[in-house]
Amino acid sequence: MSGKPVQMLLAEDNPSDADLILTSVAKHGLADSIHLVQDGVEALDFAFCRGEYSSRVHEPPLRVIVLDVKLPKVDGFEVLRELKADPRTRSIPVVMLTSSNIERDVALGYRLGANSYLQKPVEFERFRETVRQLGLYWMTMNEPPPISSFSDDDAQ
């Protein structure tokens, strides 16, 4: 991990796609603020500061979590479900970034509380542009949830 605080958690098991994503945002200096995990269990450990990520408790909260649907061990929808069920992570925006745009998957994503759903374009130029905008929007433009929104008090 670099010195910069992590702003985006990227869960992507395909190393080539992960590489393309990181390369696409490198120009904007965003790559250093992204932490890559390769399966659903690791994504949840990171988000909840468990296991090898227990020391993250003192870090500032994530600005966005980007999930692929087809993740090993625990899939993207299950990760999403657990994130949105817990008051500690509920407020973090979650973006689904996946190959599938079949209606059933999109609908399920939104039902589980996804904040955005993006299909990975096949064509590289469009893919690069999509990822670039995704990074810029959520990591620089979007106003992150204030610290107070991560307390247990507002649990419903």
């Binding site: 080539s16 190959s99 079949i102 990975k120 096949v122 064509e123 590289f124």
Partner: protein, 497 residues
């Protein structure tokens, strides 16, 4: 005047009732009921008040036999006395056979009256008919694989074969003389006699209830799926209907199993295309992406040969991306059912052309669109058809200074044919059979780009509409695509059942 006639009729009826049994009806010359005794009430269900003064042609004469019975009345008046077997209609619309003895009397004023003595002989007649038919048709109908039933014009069964007994669980004796509705599920008992009488008016050989799933009803009340074909059969004094009934339970079961298997296969195909869309797209993007990044990495210093190879890698992967997309589209069409409704093809065509015009800014194309037919088809799929045919026309007229693309209609063998014509580069008709195959191309990729899937998609859509598509072309003299939509004449396919 009328009073005196009535008086005479009553006097006569009173005396005649002493010696005769059965329904006693006195009619005027024109068929008006003058007298109607209690036996007539119980035989026909009409009360005395109800029918007196009304014509029998409005009551007990079946509506379809009125003409015939008018002639009969005239004949009876001429002959003075006669005996007949006639069909009557009860108030509840049930047909019965009666034996009628007619005598003509004159009253004091010289007016004539007909005195009818009617006896219900339905059962006897049916039995008699059944016996005759049994000897006559046993040979041909007994051994058949189908349950065969002959029904007389009152709707009663006058012949059944052993297969009928076996299939429905009744004995022959139980069925003969009964209404054929005994074999029909109870929920249809009110509607069936109407269908039956309609058939009697225009009898011809045809299957029953086209497009409907018919059921038979066994003696124990259970039902089973059947197919029935009907045909008229004339005998001496009646018009019969022959119904051949086939138990299709096992076939229905097989069809259902087949359907289930088909659904399974479709689900498998869906899973396949789903995984293709996921797993094939990613590596294509990666090949293209890394080639691009490598090129950018090498920057201006890249040697021209290396740049050429990198471009080839990118072109190859882009082409593969298009192929995968088109294949997915084709696979998706395979399991999509057409949802046809009547639409104007002009609307579809003008939408497609409007979209294309917006995209083509660097060429002069003359579009000619005729009045097109309104056809029954799936609007979404027809849009795909025209998008493919018209974008082909645009593509292959590229070398033309003045491109002309025409959409029109003509009639061939009484069917509307729609065509899309261009004055483009055309092709050699000896390759026409390859035109609609998947991945088949008649032009080099350097001349005209494409994946060779578009026309395969068009072909599949037209086939889904039970239509045909063909092309006429000559090298350098343009191409015309013609197609028909079979489902565009649904009126001919439906029938009353």
């Amino acid at each position: 005047m009328y009073d005196s006639a009535l008086q005479a009729a009553r006097e006569f009826a009173a005396s005649a009732s002493q010696e005769l049994s059965g329904a006693l009806i006195v009619l005027g010359e024109d068929g008006t009921v003058l007298s109607w005794n209690d036996a007539a009430v119980s035989l026909f269900g009409y009360g005395t008040e109800e029918v007196t003064g009304r014509s029998i042609f409005e009551t007990i004469v079946p509506p379809d036999l009125i003409e015939e019975k008018r002639r009969w009345l005239t004949r009876a008046l001429e002959r003075g006395a006669a005996n007949y077997e006639l069909m009557r209609r009860r108030k509840d619309d049930v047909r019965i056979w009666v034996d009628v003895a007619v005598r003509v009397h004159g009253d004091r004023d010289g007016r004539r009256m007909l005195v009818l003595n009617e006896r219900d002989i339905t059962r006897i007649k049916c039995q008699r008919e059944a016996e005759q038919l049994q000897t006559r048709f046993r040979g041909v109908l007994e051994a058949g694989p189908d349950a065969t039933v002959l029904v007389d014009s009152t709707g009663r069964m006058v012949f059944v074969n052993s297969e009928t007994e076996r299939l429905f669980g009744y004995s022959r004796e139980e069925l003969l003389g009964e209404f054929v509705e005994v074999l029909v599920p109870t929920r249809f008992h009110t509607s069936h006699p109407g269908h039956r009488r309609k058939y009697f008016r225009t009898p011809r050989i045809r299957p029953m209830g086209i497009g409907l799933e018919l059921s038979g009803r066994r003696k124990d009340g259970s039902e089973f799926p059947v197919e029935i074909s009907l045909g008229p059969l004339s005998i001496e004094d009646d018009q019969l209907t022959m119904a051949a009934i086939r138990d299709v339970s096992s076939r229905r079961r097989m069809e259902e199993a087949l359907k289930a298997a088909n659904i399974g296969a479709n689900a498998e195909l869906e899973a396949f295309t789903y995984s293709v869309s996921h797993d094939l797209r990613a590596p294509i993007r990666q090949i293209e992406g890394f080639a691009k990044i490598l090129g950018e990495h090498l920057g201006k210093d890249i040697d021209p040969e290396a740049e050429h190879y990198l471009r080839r890698i990118q072109e190859g992967s882009q082409q593969m991306g298009r192929l995968v997309d088109d294949l997915l589209h084709l696979a998706h069409l395979g399991r999509q059912d057409a949802k046809p409704r009547r639409i104007s093809l002009n609307t579809v065509v003008s939408n497609v052309i409007a979209n294309m015009r917006a995209e083509i800014t660097d060429r002069a194309i003359e579009w000619r669109v005729d009045q097109l037919p309104s056809l029954v088809c799936d609007p979404g799929l027809m849009k795909v058809v025209f998008t493919n045919l018209l974008s082909n026309a645009v593509k292959y007229t590229r070398p033309r200074e003045n491109a002309v693309i025409e959409v029109g209609q003509m009639v061939k063998d009484g069917q509307p044919v729609v065509y899309v014509r261009d004055n483009g580069v055309g092709f050699d008709m000896k390759y026409a059979d390859k035109l609609f195959g998947v991945f088949q191309r008649l032009h080099r990729a350097e001349e005209f780009e494409g994946t060779g899937v578009g026309l395969a998609i068009v072909h599949r859509i037209i086939r889904k509409h039970n239509g045909t598509i063909w092309a006429e072309a000559a090298p350098d003299h343009g191409t015309t695509f013609f197609f028909t939509l079979g489902s565009s004449t649904p009126d001919a396919a439906t029938s009353t059942g």
